[in-house]
Symmetry: C2
Subunit: 160 residues, 2 copies
């Protein structure tokens, strides 16, 4: 473990292997992990296609069950995000942020805000996309559309 | 079901039969239930004896598992309380609040605030204390002290 406190954030809709890669990396490099999860209001603002995104209660339940089954609950701080930054722009104890290629820009923005406030910038740890069976990244949207399952397995509805 | 939207709030530390009585009543009388759960910062402010109160991640996990096992997750809105009022003093869609004898005063305070803002006061549904085997109310503090378990069963450490 390199860091005392690490942060990750997301909507965590249909918790999938891509999410799990980011989360696992956070607990691998950090002692304590702050997990920010989008509120129900925020998922509607942020996502172009938010129809069908699961309610917070369900997304949280899946996330916490996963953390519990891996023995990580005791190292976890949960925050509900009502904006894209959460405590990442105010908590001086955070050392690093774990991102995907898709969310790296947000981490750079967070660092600009931290620096403007006199806080240390976060070390950015980037985890590559996890690919589905078809070679394209796993995403919640593709799961919601029924193309793949949360492990990236192709669902062949069209072969009927 | 009498109400469209009902609210309950608490720390939900060592989720016990007293909590479950309040929560069950909320889903019995309400179609949608907003469950407010104290943040880690707030439990320290509110409780005289907050040492040993479980972290939010663990309290939330137990709560959501219970709601899932009863089939109630889909009717749930989760909010994290950073003050004792939460959305109960601002959400005009809430019709009622479920309380214990201990938290009734807070509900009356919430109603005073709602009225001062021009919102409808909430109907207050009071659930009696759930008693432990020894006839005294079940409480998280007594569980934490090892006197009883979450179902109110006496733990006789002193009989050794």
């Amino acid at each position: 473990m390199k860091f005392r406190k690490v942060v990750v954030g997301g909507t965590f809709d249909y918790l999938h292997n891509g999410h799990l890669a980011i989360i696992s990396k956070a607990y691998e490099v950090g002692e304590q992990v702050t997990v920010g999860i989008c509120s129900d209001e925020m998922r509607q603002l942020l996502q172009k296609d938010s129809a069908g995104v699961q309610p917070l209660a369900i997304r949280l339940w899946r996330l916490l069950n996963e953390l519990h089954s891996r023995g990580w609950l005791g190292r976890t701080e949960i925050t509900i995000l009502s904006d894209p930054y959460g405590t990442a722009v105010s908590d001086r104890n955070i050392d690093a942020i774990v991102v995907s290629p898709e969310t790296r820009k947000r981490a750079e923005e967070i660092n600009r805000i931290r620096i403007s406030k006199g806080l240390n910038p976060l070390e950015i740890v980037e985890v590559p996309f996890v690919l589905a069976e078809d070679g394209k990244p796993i995403s919640s949207l593709r799961i919601r559309y029924g193309e793949i399952d949360p492990h990236g397995k192709r669902l062949n509805h069209s072969t009927i």
